[in-house]
């Protein structure tokens, strides 16, 4: 029996030729990631257990992104603790306000993660780097502490579900619509404990940003990881970013998959997830009239350059609807700079949007856009759980940047086709 792409990467990092689903392995890590919320817990555990040194100062990333710039005194204490730990252990990849970006946009952008890597992160959306052909998965803070101390972690080898992508997505259909459609199809635990392996001729039709968005939300279907094959677009993205050797793995022809779904990208429409689970999907045509109080365009899911570009294209020369707060958050400093350089920042501000420095902020109800009782928000973020963005009675609708920008203009959830592009 052959191995999937995920299984091959795990086998190589465990130093064995073959692994099978369900097998428990100890594997070597290429990168251990934490943020300002999960790192303090990991640092406490690391120190409590008596570890004095980290396994490799170049293979740990501490990114202060969730409540940064510090939202209050307690958040400031947490980044202070992380900063001091980074200083003490001379951690190479420590990013604080001014340099930071949302971790899952920042690490690929800076070439810190690459194809073939085995990455763990104390953040559930660590699965994002599967877009580069890495095995990358979210863990908790104790796992992060163990990873920082030893450079190794235990894994149960996952079985896999294959998503055979065919066709080419139409206008205003992006990675977010693909992954929301898939989550709607299989449910929020449809890929529990499994790899989601995206293959097929449709992959070539997806930009790297689309692939990051799709891999990012594998966790929203319960997936252990999401992974894409490495092609010319992946290699072009890594060129000039990744300054070290990396390895490209491919699935065996006889790899076993528990299930295969064929997804025709050309048949997809802009898709929205209704409260309070990502699996509650409808196409934009099925939405009816839903008035909104707030729009958020950003996050590790949809705060990348192409998301900003789409928002700018739709918002150019327009005004946001009266009574709707629109918050736009480029995911990294480099993307923020692109917004300035290409005139998108001016489009956003002229339209009446708030343009924020990179932060996870509102996505998890931290700050920078908290919802009041009964309010509705259309967000390009990844979770619409009860109370996720504020008051327990507030509601979140998830969509891609095109629907979000169109909805910002009309004040209700809107098909971007209905907006005249200036």
């Amino acid at each position: 029996m052959g191995m999937t792409m995920s299984q091959k990467i795990l086998a190589a990092h465990a130093g064995v030729d073959v692994v099978v689903p369900g097998q428990l392995i100890m594997a070597n890590l290429d990168m251990v990631l934490g943020n300002d919320i999960t790192s303090p817990v990991a640092i406490n555990e690391f120190e409590k257990a008596g570890f004095e040194t980290v396994f490799d100062r170049t293979k740990i990333s501490l990114v202060m992104d969730h409540f940064v710039p510090n939202k209050d005194i307690k958040a400031a204490q947490q980044t202070k603790q992380s900063r001091e730990f980074a200083g003490k252990h001379d951690i190479q990849h420590f990013y604080d306000a001014g340099e930071m970006g949302i971790e899952h946009a920042l690490l690929p952008e800076k070439g810190i993660v690459a194809a073939g890597d085995l990455v763990i992160g104390a953040d559930s959306h660590t699965c994002t780097y599967g877009a580069l052909g890495a095995f990358s998965t979210g863990v908790g803070s104790t796992d992060m502490a163990a990873g920082m101390a030893t450079g190794q972690l235990w894994f149960k080898v996952p079985s896999a579900i294959r998503f055979n992508l065919v066709g080419k997505p139409g206008p205003f259909v992006g990675g977010k619509d693909v992954i929301l459609h898939i989550i709607g199809l299989i449910g929020v635990d449809g890929a529990l404990y499994r790899s989601m392996e995206f293959t097929g001729p449709g992959v070539a039709q997806l930009s790297m940003d689309d692939r990051f968005t799709i891999a990012n939300m594998a966790i929203e279907a319960g997936g252990k990881n999401g992974i894409f094959p490495v092609d010319e677009k992946t290699l072009a993205y890594m060129a000039g970013r990744v300054n070290r050797p990396y390895k490209v793995y491919t699935a065996d022809d006889d790899a076993e998959y528990e299930q295969t779904y064929t997804i025709d990208l050309s048949a997809l429409k802009p898709t929205v997830s209704l409260p309070h689970l990502p699996e509650n999907t409808r196409t934009i045509d099925e939405m009816g009239d839903v008035a909104i109080d707030q729009v958020v365009i950003g996050s590790c899911t949809n705060g990348r350059e192409s998301d900003m570009e789409m928002a700018a294209k739709i918002l150019k020369g327009k005004k946001v609807a009266k009574g709707v707060r629109v918050i736009i958050i480029p995911a990294t400093q480099a993307i923020y700079r692109t917004c300035l350089r290409k005139g998108w920042a001016e489009i956003f501000v002229d339209a009446g949007c708030v343009l924020s420095t990179p932060t996870c902020g509102p996505c998890l109800g931290g700050y920078m856009g908290i919802l009041a009782e009964g309010e509705k928000c259309l967000a390009t973020t990844n979770r619409n759980f009860i109370g996720r963005m504020g008051h327990p009675t507030s509601e979140i609708y998830l969509a891609g940047p095109a629907v979000a920008a169109a909805s910002a203009i009309t004040g209700k959830i809107t098909n971007p086709r209905e907006i005249e592009i200036n």
Binding site: D189, G222, L277, G365, I370
Partner: protein, 161 residues
């Protein structure tokens, strides 16, 4: 090791935001986090529960964010065990890694009701609903994971090596 307590029952897909909302994650203090358990979906939970009580819920328990604060808050609040048909994988890992006992049993999770008195034997995986007298058998952990739990968590297991 045994646990006994009153059951608090919840539905499917209880996410880690529901277990402890992100607005409280500006602290790593387990005691402080414990005061906010289940707040957004069951505001009276922390006042109502007693030390040793047991959570029973539906599938995919602990989905969403990887925050270890969630099992840590439940453990610190005094919850002695969680019984569900299936856990989201990061919550499952985190619970093992911090030595918080969890069990998977679809039948027990379906049949045991809110307010029942339940006794759990972690060594055997036996669950007894003392209110109905019915017994259930949960899947025992593989030896690899039992070692982590017996050591009192992952870091202790590493240090013991």
């Amino acid at each position: 090791m045994n646990a006994q307590g009153t059951v608090h029952k919840y539905g499917d897909n209880i996410d880690t935001d529901a277990i402890v909302a992100a607005r409280y994650l500006n602290t790593a203090s387990a005691e402080e986090l414990a005061t906010h358990c289940m707040e957004d979906i069951d505001p009276g939970f922390v006042q109502r529960m007693k030390k040793g009580d047991i959570l029973v819920a539906g599938q995919n328990f602990g989905c969403g964010s990887s925050r270890e604060h969630a099992p840590l808050a439940l453990k610190t609040a005094g919850i002695s065990c969680v019984i569900v048909p299936s856990f989201a994988r990061i919550f499952y890992r985190n619970s093992i890694n911090i030595g918080f006992p969890i069990l998977e049993s679809a039948q027990a999770a379906a049949e045991i009701q809110n307010g029942h008195e339940v006794e759990v034997d972690f060594d055997t995986g036996k669950i007894v609903d003392k209110t109905t007298g019915k017994t259930y058998q949960a899947q025992p952990f593989p030896p690899f994971i039992q070692n982590i739990i017996q050591a009192g968590g992952l870091l202790n297991a590493i240090n013991n090596k």
